[in-house]
């Protein structure tokens, strides 16, 4: 199977294709449970009860889309959004089309709900390998899985270079100059050739929202459904999912807001002595 990966790397159509004026940018978008969703587990306690969750676009993916739209405004070209998952993920693709993406690819398969990053990256790679992309943007990590792997694995599968946790993107001809966030407020510029994969950090830009005009225009845009590879080989399995054990005893202060406020001030003055 390793040979297959290497083979794919050589034939990846993105690699070595002639530079054109027009950029093709692909943005990978994941649908995740909404931020204010209260977790409920399935009976086996191995996954959430999906039917109870409301869903939204993974936060950094929204920034990745915005960055792609800005690059398109500057350099021309096309923005294609791609999401892998069951039928429900079409919703985040529609939203992306309303915000300005040109077309969408839905890798549809029920096995992709709750799948690990390897499975998802393989599904995305099989759908994207024939697109003559210049740039693929993903979020740096998902709010639900939090694996921080998919974009980097996708780059490896497609045989293109990558950079992670990106806070600024400049395309100059066939090269890319990106600002990579490091820990503790440090940054670093990285230059690399196109085509490439970047994982985008939240806050890279200011988001714009869909307009009514955009929503109307989106109705005419294409959402192409493609199948996932027949064999999807998971690399990990959740054996148990649970609410984290509490290790620390927080002193909870109750009562009306005024009572709680007075009590807290008293504690901070007399017990903690910090004010």
């Amino acid at each position: 199977c390793a040979a297959e990966v290497r083979h794919r790397r050589q034939v990846a159509p993105g690699v070595g294709h002639r530079r054109r004026e027009i950029m093709l940018i692909i943005v990978c978008i994941r649908q995740v449970p909404a931020r204010d969703w209260q977790p409920r587990l399935n009976d086996a306690r191995t996954w959430i009860r999906e039917q109870d969750a409301t869903y939204e676009t993974n936060e950094p993916d929204a920034y990745a889309l915005e960055e792609a739209l800005r690059l398109k405004e500057k350099h021309g070209g096309q923005v294609v959004v791609c999401s892998a998952g069951p039928a429900r993920v079409v919703q985040v693709l529609r939203e992306a089309l309303a915000r300005g993406a040109d077309r969408a690819i839905h890798v549809e398969d029920d096995r992709l709900a709750g799948a690990d990053a390897f499975v998802v990256a393989h599904a995305l790679a099989s759908a994207l390998k024939d697109e003559p992309f210049d740039l693929i943007l993903t979020g740096l990590q998902s709010d639900d899985n939090g694996s921080a792997q998919t974009g980097v694995v996708l780059a490896a599968l497609l045989g293109v270079p990558h950079a992670t946790i990106i806070m600024e993107v400049h395309a100059q001809g066939a090269t890319l100059r990106v600002k990579r966030e490091l820990e503790g407020g440090w940054f670093q510029w990285i230059n690399m050739p196109l085509p490439a994969v970047l994982t985008i950090q939240s806050g890279i830009n200011q988001l714009r929202y869909a307009t009514l005009k955009g929503i109307m225009a989106a109705r005419k845009k294409e959402i192409r459904t493609v199948a996932a590879p027949l064999v999807l080989e998971p690399r990990q399995k959740i054996v148990s999912l649970y609410v984290p054990e509490k290790t620390k005893k927080t002193e909870l202060i109750s009562g009306s807001p005024i009572e709680a406020a007075r009590e807290l001030v008293k504690k901070l003055r007399e017990e903690a002595r910090v004010i």
Binding site: N145, Q149, L182, G185, I238, L241, L264, L268, V274
Partner: protein, 321 residues
């Protein structure tokens, strides 16, 4: 054999490396444990690592490993792993590891379990506990497929000071790898900090910090009044700075400032790990949050469960009484 990979930066080993060693020692439970370190000049770092209770230190030295690039590291570490054939590879879950570990795992087609906070060992079976859904849930995860399995451990989850030191220094061996430097596609420049402005939150005695629970830029004033009443600096979680509601320099957390005031008041902050690492050293932590299950209550000394828009003004008034 368990392999743990230390992280060297500008000639120094970071604390996360010792945390990874502590985790790997737990996992090895007496079985052979090798620690590897990569870089262009790592003699000093290798000697430092030799103090750990490990079977041996493997130094992977090559000019093309400085500066760090994912292509260079991937090439070198993949060769080392093939030669050493470990069953598990343990790495710290740093920005650098996030940048190259998935590539190696993908190329070798092996499992990678990231952000591990605990080891669940029962006999021969091992599961790795990791946060999911923004820390609302924890999952016990089992890697599938052939060895080696890769795991990355969350920064701060294992204690560096619990890494056992050996009675005598461990042997240091160098392992040679070949790297074709023309095949490295990324050209990095030197790291830099954005020009720092007047605020140095690390010196603040008291901090009032706002999170997304504040809902709107206009509501920052509510927190501002509390900060004034307390003589505190105003700080924020990342999304508040991302939205431009407060300047970046007031961001607390792994990609912002690390603070340790006498009092840290978290208003409408959920307590994601990237925020916690920046403030959990505070002497007294107070959390005000409407969600009783918010992870911020894991580090808070005092908590008020409720709507911050009711409690914060009441608190401001109570302070003036």
């Amino acid at each position: 054999m368990i392999l743990v990979v230390g992280e060297e930066r500008r000639g120094r080993l970071n604390r996360a490396s010792w945390e990874a060693i502590a985790a790997a020692q737990q996992l090895a439970a007496g079985r052979p444990l090798v620690v590897a370190v990569l870089g262009a000049d790592i003699r000093a770092v290798a000697l430092e690592l030799a103090a750990a209770q490990v079977t041996e230190v493997v130094a992977i030295q090559h000019a093309a490993l400085e500066p760090y690039t994912p292509d260079g590291y991937t090439a070198a570490l993949e060769q080392a792993i093939v030669q050493l054939s470990p069953t598990v590879v343990v790495l710290p879950h740093t920005y650098q590891t996030r940048d190259f570990a998935p590539t190696i795992a993908a190329r070798m087609e092996r499992a990678l379990v990231t952000d591990v906070i605990r080891l669940r060992i029962s006999g021969e079976n091992i599961a790795y506990a990791r946060p999911m859904f923004q820390g609302k849930l924890t999952a016990d995860v089992v890697p599938l497929g052939p060895a080696p399995h890769f795991i990355t451990v969350q920064v701060g989850a294992f204690r560096a000071d619990q890494a056992s030191r050996g009675a005598v220094p461990a042997p240091v061996r160098s392992l040679s790898v070949s790297i074709d430097s023309t095949a490295i596609r990324q050209t990095p420049e030197a790291p830099f900090q954005e020009a720092r402005q007047a605020v140095d939150l690390s010196q603040a005695q008291r901090i009032v910090s706002v999170g997304r629970g504040i809902k709107d830029a206009a509501n920052i004033a509510v927190a501002q009044r509390l900060a004034e009443a307390l003589g505190a600096e105003l700080a924020a979680s990342r999304p508040i700075c991302d939205a431009g509601w407060l300047p970046m320099e007031r961001q607390v957390g792994s990609s912002g400032q690390t603070v340790a005031p006498k009092l840290y008041l978290a208003l409408g902050i959920s307590g994601a790990i990237q925020h916690l690492v920046g403030m959990k050293g505070s002497k007294t932590i107070v959390a005000i949050n409407k969600d009783p299950d918010a992870p911020i209550f894991e580090v808070a000394d005092y908590g008020v469960v409720g709507d911050l828009f009711d409690i914060v003004p009441a608190l401001t008034t109570a302070l003036k009484e």
